[in-house]
């Protein structure tokens, strides 16, 4: 039995490669080649001045030096991180709470179907349209300011205020994504074997302890996924602040995200500087992905499959 299994797994290995072919072929054609050309361009002075092409002239690491030392890249990285956190913290807390409420046997909330549908809806609007609408809400004479004035406060110029602008971008990110996260977390929570929860309750664990020691570890893969995708969305944040600030990243460039900054170089078709910036962004993101993956899953994919087998054998079959 054992020997035959081994020989089998060798003969099946080719299917592993075959099934990877579509992904990698498409990735190479549509993403890797442009990406490599971007990397290649980062070593050249190469941009458009009007319709005239300047370069390409090989300049070595000059573009990297410019990006790292002559620009405010750290400021934009900080903006991006801060705005992402402003949206992500309420997002994960609210989504977790909602996921528990929706799945709670004790609460037995009604109309959950309605609520589940509604909280996902902001995600359906185009980010650009969503930003336009938010802009009208919070503009100097928008409904929010009308309300403030009616309650006897001074109106606030939200978009001329650093904290307000960043906060609004965070709020919009929260609104757009918390429904999505709730659905995912719900799926995770409902997938937890109820016998484990019952066992914990019989042992006299408080609901907080059960949540912390049973629920959280059980939905860890989903949490990792949520965290990772949200971080990706954060790093790639562009549409919302772009439209909300009319591309300026104002006030004083404090809501300029890294991709907005990259976009500035795309405007001038600055293949050199945009290339160098892209490489730096690529390295940052690749390293972050890798670290998170390593730390949060602890085990590689191979071992994980085996350890999951134990859980899934029980409830996996139909």
């Amino acid at each position: 039995m054992k020997t035959s299994k081994k020989s089998k797994s060798i003969s099946y290995a080719k299917w592993g490669y075959i099934f990877l072919i579509p992904f990698f072929t498409i990735y190479i054609i549509f993403s890797l080649i442009p990406l490599v050309s971007t990397f290649y361009n980062s070593f050249f002075e190469n941009y458009m001045s009007g319709l005239k092409q300047i370069g390409p002239n090989f300049v070595g690491l000059e573009n990297y030096k410019t990006i790292l030392f002559d620009t405010e890249l750290p400021k934009y990285a900080y903006n991006t991180l801060l705005i992402w956190i402003l949206g992500f913290i309420p997002q994960i807390i609210v989504s977790m709470v909602l996921a528990l409420w929706f799945t709670s046997v004790r609460l037995k909330l009604k109309f959950t179907g309605f609520f589940k549908t509604v909280i996902y809806m902001p995600n359906l609007i185009m980010a650009a349209a969503f930003s336009m609408l938010f802009w009208t809400l919070f503009s100097d004479i928008g409904p929010v300011n009308n309300l403030l004035v009616a309650m006897g406060y001074e109106p606030i110029s939200f978009f001329q205020n650093i904290n307000a602008t960043r906060g609004l971008v965070g709020l919009m990110n929260f609104l757009m994504w918390f429904g999505n996260t709730t659905i995912l977390l719900m799926a995770g929570v409902m997938g937890i074997d109820s016998s484990i929860l019952e066992a914990a309750q019989i042992d006299g664990a408080s609901s907080w302890k059960t949540f912390w020691n049973v629920t959280i570890p059980s939905i860890k893969p989903i949490l990792v996924y949520v965290f990772l995708t949200s971080l990706i969305g954060g790093v790639q944040m562009f549409d919302v602040p772009q439209i909300l600030t009319n591309g300026s990243g104002g006030p004083d460039r404090t809501s300029m995200t890294m991709i907005m900054y990259l976009n500035k170089h795309l405007f001038s078709k600055n293949y050199g500087l945009a290339g160098a910036l892209s490489v730096i962004l690529f390295l940052i993101t690749a390293i972050i992905s890798f670290i998170i993956y390593k730390n949060l899953t602890e085990k590689g994919p191979k071992e994980k499959i085996d350890s999951n087998k134990k859980i899934s054998v029980k409830g996996g079959g139909k």
């Binding site: 992904f23 549509f30 361009n41 909330l109 004479i141 995912l184 990772l228 996996g316």
Partner: protein, 278 residues
């Protein structure tokens, strides 16, 4: 008893507040699609306007603005994206999940590393390269690349790891099913809930994508809805009409809500299947 009632009351209160926050932008959108440009320009009001019919007529009658073609193109691209992204991501995840081969770790690590790369990073190279492949002004670059969707892949893999026991595959092999057949007839059905979830996500993001189409699409008959909206937004002062812009956004959102409501049933059902054991 009263405490639990209070609890419930608080839950509903929070849920209602959140719902209002979520729905307010739709409300704004609908209001603005009923108002004339000059009304919209002067700031928001909570009252409906009288220009719904006029805005609708102007959007649909504008022969520079092929709205119906735009909807068709957007549907084509989004459905294509949703199908390709989910099917091939399950396939890729299946490969990593099921088989043992030498470059598995490498392939996996590679996908994890490229997951975060923003599409803007390679935009300049992308346009040039598409030009050389003669794929400019074509819908193909809008949906075909979704075959390689690292994030969808990662979701599928996570789902597979807790829902697809290797024993199931072994059993299929015992029955003499080929690997490809096993994948299509056994693995895909098990993955249905995950596919439904990701189908929505990918459909929505493809539907709302402006960045890539704006680089690729030129001719009127291939424009997708976000491009048409941008086109209205850059209309000249003589024609600039925010009423039409909001109307088109409103029209653009209807199909997606329909798709969402259809698929969301699947999600709820899918999630319910997973918890049948209680």
């Amino acid at each position: 008893m009263s405490i639990s009632k209070l609890n419930k009351f608080l839950c509903y209160l929070v849920l209602i507040l959140l719902s209002i926050l979520c729905l307010i932008s739709f409300y704004l959108l609908i209001i603005n699609s009923t108002r004339a440009h000059s009304e919209i320009q002067k700031g928001f009001s909570f009252n409906f306007g009288d220009f719904f019919d006029a805005n609708l007529k102007n959007v649909l009658d504008n022969d520079q603005l092929p709205v119906l073609k735009g909807i068709r193109n957007s549907l084509f691209v989004s459905i294509g994206t949703a199908i390709l992204a989910t099917y091939f991501s399950v396939l890729t995840a299946f490969s990593i999940h099921t088989y043992d081969f030498k470059f598995k770790r490498l392939a996996f690590t590679f996908i994890m590393m490229i997951m975060m790369v923003p599409p803007q990073v390679s935009a300049l190279g992308f346009i040039r390269w598409m030009g050389e492949l003669d794929l400019m002004d074509s819908l193909i670059p809008l949906f075909l690349p979704s075959i390689a969707s690292p994030i969808v892949f990662y979701f599928m893999l996570a789902y597979m790891q807790s829902n697809l026991p290797k024993a199931t595959i072994e059993a299929a092999r015992m029955d003499g099913s080929s690997e490809f057949r096993t994948f299509n007839l056994i693995v895909l059905p098990i993955m249905k809930p995950a596919i439904a979830v990701q189908a929505i996500f990918t459909f929505v993001s493809a539907w709302n994508n402006y960045f890539i189409p704006s680089l690729i699409i030129r001719s009127a008959e291939k424009k997708t809805l976000p491009i048409l909206i941008a086109q209205l937004r850059s209309a000249d002062y003589l024609k600039f009409d925010m009423g039409q812009v909001y109307m088109l956004i409103f029209l653009a959102i209807i199909p997606i809500i329909v798709v969402y409501i259809i698929l969301s049933k699947y999600i709820v059902r899918g999630v319910a299947v997973g918890s049948v054991k209680e």
